[in-house]
């Protein structure tokens, strides 16, 4: 028996050695870096492009080969915990697509400010609205792989066929509701179960974008100016929840969670929504430019239109902008080579690839202003829609307000819980109670995070002092220096409302 065990041990050891010897890193002649990104066929093309770009830019070995090999570590978009655990354990990929705010809070991202300036991927190479997302405490930690802005894709043929007014590019709630009611009444057979909706459901991450856009159009944000307190205990948030409920249960413009579960398989990018949109069961879908990746696969090209998110009557036009940003892991052994990859993201070859593949917006807005972007020759049915997305990003895009005192994931979950309470049938709570509950939960989370760290508490106290000064100035009707405001929404809103002091008068309190 012991010989048998001995043989087993030897075999296992040999297998272990063989595994180590055949490790890709050992077989490569050049250093290997890993890119933790989402599962998409486009990534393979982008890896090839990166290697080609290295050669074109002269980042080569004496033999003329790329100086680094990029490999993919494909992780489901929703699986953030893997990246989180790997990061804090010191074994994360060299480059990772992540929420910069969340990862920066963990301290696992490399400061890229100097490299960005040298290699040409500083914030001036992307959308101004994204600066707060990429730059934390004055230092840059990432660069976008692509930029997302969500609008309503319109199935123009379906509206025409039903004799319903086509949704305009800009609109308010009243127009949205008028056209929506007309659409559902003409598209469905009276007395039968509703199978056609004005737009797809506002659940999951869409619900978050819906609610943020809705409250911002009324001048409210998730946090106050200094991000020290959640301000959702406000009638405007309750109004938004009530209106969302009205759109689902009274106007039936979009399916409830139960109706959605019945008509949608929810798999792949955007689940079944795109198929339902293509077949006319949804008149519109609330999605990014990346919808085109799948819409182009359908046999019959659709006549498409794009409408921006509606505002409250006379409200503030806005749209939540975000980035699938790539960052360099602090524990990487090849930070300089990883930074090269971010430089590639700002390059022409990468941006053109994003433009052509329709994988959201290119990171550099200059490439959203070229003919190949605006009028792709193979897809005349899309002309006009691309411009609508880049316009939304440039003119209305405002980044998410991420407080340094509470995780963005937690905030999203708590808002989703509050929304659920109003959106269930029958509702579990009134909109006012749900709004107050969400604000209380988020503020409790802030309090907990302050208890844990004296350093964080100190910074919080100083920001609260600034907030007091802002409140006092606002109460007196005076303008506020822009540098006092950390919340990207309030910064933009203060400028638009004329409440911000001229830049020359900026002063730290």
């Amino acid at each position: 028996m012991k010989y048998l065990f001995l043989i087993a041990l030897i075999v296992l050891l040999a297998a272990g050695v063989a595994t180590v010897m055949t490790e890709p890193d050992l077989r490569s002649e050049v250093p290997v870096i890993y890119w933790a990104t989402d599962l998409s066929s486009a990534r393979f093309r982008q890896v090839d492009l990166f290697h080609q770009w290295l050669v074109d830019e002269g980042h080569t070995t004496p033999e003329g080969k790329p100086i680094v090999e990029l490999r993919l570590d494909l992780i489901g978009r929703a699986d953030n915990s893997k990246k989180l655990i790997q990061s804090v354990a010191g074994v994360a990929s060299d480059v990772m697509d992540c929420s910069i705010g969340q990862m920066h809070a963990l301290g696992v991202l490399e400061d890229l400010t100097d490299e960005a300036r040298t290699l040409g991927f500083d914030p001036s190479n992307t959308y101004t609205a994204l600066e707060t997302e990429l730059v934390k405490d004055g230092r840059q930690y990432g660069f976008p792989c692509n930029v997302s802005i969500i609008c309503f894709w319109v199935n123009a043929e379906r509206f025409e066929e039903l004799g319903v007014e086509t949704p305009p590019a800009e609109w308010d709630y009243e127009t949205f509701e008028r056209i929506g009611r007309d659409f559902v009444s003409k598209a469905n057979v009276p007395g039968e179960r509703q199978t056609v909706f004005f737009c797809d459901s506002a659940t999951g991450w869409r619900a978050y974008v819906f609610l943020v856009n809705m409250i911002r159009s009324q001048g409210l944000s998730v946090f106050n100016e200094t991000m020290t307190r959640c301000t959702l205990d406000d009638g405007r948030f309750a109004d938004s929840l009530t209106r969302l409920r009205q759109w689902v249960y009274e106007d039936h413009l979009m399916p409830s969670a139960a109706e959605e579960a019945s008509i949608s398989g929810e798999s792949g990018f955007s689940g079944a929504s795109l198929s339902l949109f293509h077949t006319g069961r949804y008149g519109m879908i609330f999605n990014g430019r990346w919808s085109l990746i799948r819409l182009r696969e359908f046999d019959r090209p659709m006549q498409l239109g794009v409408s921006h998110f509606p505002t409250s009557p006379g409200g503030f036009p806005n749209n939540l902008i975000g980035a699938r940003a790539a960052a360099v892991y602090k524990g990487s052994e090849h930070k300089d080579l990883a930074a090269l990859f971010l430089s590639f993201l700002a390059s022409e070859s990468y941006n053109i690839q994003v433009v052509e593949s329709a994988d959201a917006l290119p990171p550099n807005p200059a490439f959203a202003d070229i003919e190949a972007y605006r009028h792709p020759p193979e897809y005349p049915n899309e002309w006009g829609t691309h411009q609508a997305f880049s316009d939304a990003a440039l003119q209305q895009g405002i980044a998410n307000d991420e407080s340094p005192f509470v995780s963005v994931v937690t905030v999203a979950r708590l808002i989703s819980d509050g929304r659920d309470k109003v959106m269930t049938d029958p509702p579990m709570a009134s909109a006012e109670a749900a709004a107050a509950g969400v604000a209380m939960s988020i503020n409790d989370e802030i309090a907990l995070s302050l208890q844990a760290s004296p350093i964080r508490s100190e910074s919080y106290r100083s920001m609260c002092e600034t907030q007091d000064l802002i409140d006092a100035r606002r109460a007196r009707g005076e303008k506020v220096p822009l540098s006092w405001i950390a919340n990207p929404f309030h910064r933009r809103y203060y400028i638009e409302m004329g409440w911000a002091e001229a830049p020359g008068k900026d002063a730290k309190p």
């Binding site: 655990i85 804090v88 139960a258 109706e259 008509i263 937690t410 819980d417 509050g418 579990m428 760290s453």
Partner: protein
Amino acid sequence: MKTVGSRKRVRREMAVGLLFLLPNIIGFLSFIFIPLVLSLMLAFSNWDLQLHNMFREEPLSFVGLSNFTRLLSESDFWRYLGNTLFLMMAIPFGIAGSLLAAILLSMDLRGGATRTWVFMLLGSVFVSGVGILAMLGMGVAAMTLLIGGVVCLILIGGVAGGSTVYRTLFYMPHFTAGVATYILWKKLYSPHTGPINAVLRPGLERIGDGVNATPPGLVQLGMWVALILMLGLLVFGLARLQTWWRNGDLGWLGLVIGALFLTLPAIVSYRWLPVSVVGIGLLVLVTALLVWLIVRVIWTDRFFIAPTGEGLGGTLIFSTVLMVGQFVLLGLGAVVYNLPVMVIDGGLEPPNWLSDPSWAKPALMIMALWAAIGSNNMLLYLAGLSNVPAELYEAASIDGAGLFAKFWHVTWPQLAPVTFFIVVMSMIYGLQGGFEMARTMTQGGPAGATTTLSYYVYTEGFETGRLGYAAAVTWTLFALVFVITMFNWKFGNRFVND
């Protein structure tokens, strides 16, 4: 006296033995013991991933019991503990189901040649029939055809292959990957297009028509019937407790806890019942019954004096079953009372299983019940049943025992050790479980309705990064499991040995 040579040999054999065990010992230490000790230490620290990781230098501090005190004052913890306990109410049904399945599967179901041929003939006729219907364009009934076909196959397979076929089929959910079955159930629960609601809808429509055609007062009488039945269960339970007490089969502890369990539904009924006066009436009645019990206990002579903890295990099972029964009747009563209003409001609709906070938990329980019936519990019961001596059944038959009497007086007591083991393990799994199910099907929603303690540990650990607090929740969960297991061990084990 041992020689030097033999001592050397013993030592050498010991060394070889340890060498063989070494991989296992290293694995156990690395992946179980050391992480366990570390997690215990973590529970008393302020470890927060945002502050304490290999790139952060903020010192880790010992916070004493503050994670535990925070947990006890956290409303979320209690809510999610409540969710976990609610889901655990499916455990008794799961155990009963697996016992029933095991009893059925322990029978020899193999048919004789004639029976096999009859089933095969009937099956062929059925399959041909549904084939013709499909060809005639009656594709709407595709699901019915499919289910019918599967039933036929199962019947034919069972008759031809005997209970082995059924045992395999029943055990199938257990070796099918969890996530796959959860996705399947998600489809089954689909409110408008799922087969469950497709089956429920016509039935509910008929009930709605029936309710419409009946005077509301008459329908609402159903609540009174349910309440009378509920009271019947309560009186029966209390009377049994009193009898056991008098006979010396039950001690003080069992009597008090049993009475508490039995009266709980009536005590909380005011929250459920649509007519508050009835709730108050029930409370008065329960108080009267309790007074009666106390008077009987104090004034009646006991035949035997039992120790304090005597009979607690059996009483707990007994009173829990009656308590669940009372809750079911109470819920049914409330539903029946509201039926006329529900019908007027828009007819009786099948539930929005996973998106309705009131139905999400029962939906998960039904699925868990399905999985539990054909689980390892069934196999354990099957093994237990094969060990029951045939002579006991023969003796029972000679004494004139019927089927139920044989089960109650032979099978059930003989299976007591197996049941005890299953109860302990199910409670442990029940307290720890629910994560995969909730993550796949509801993501803990709607509005936290299906968030269990294990899911809470995950969100606290990997969403907010508070590992210290998450570890405290885990150890609290362990303490709960430990206490319940010890309780089971102390009282249930005695019941088993009896």
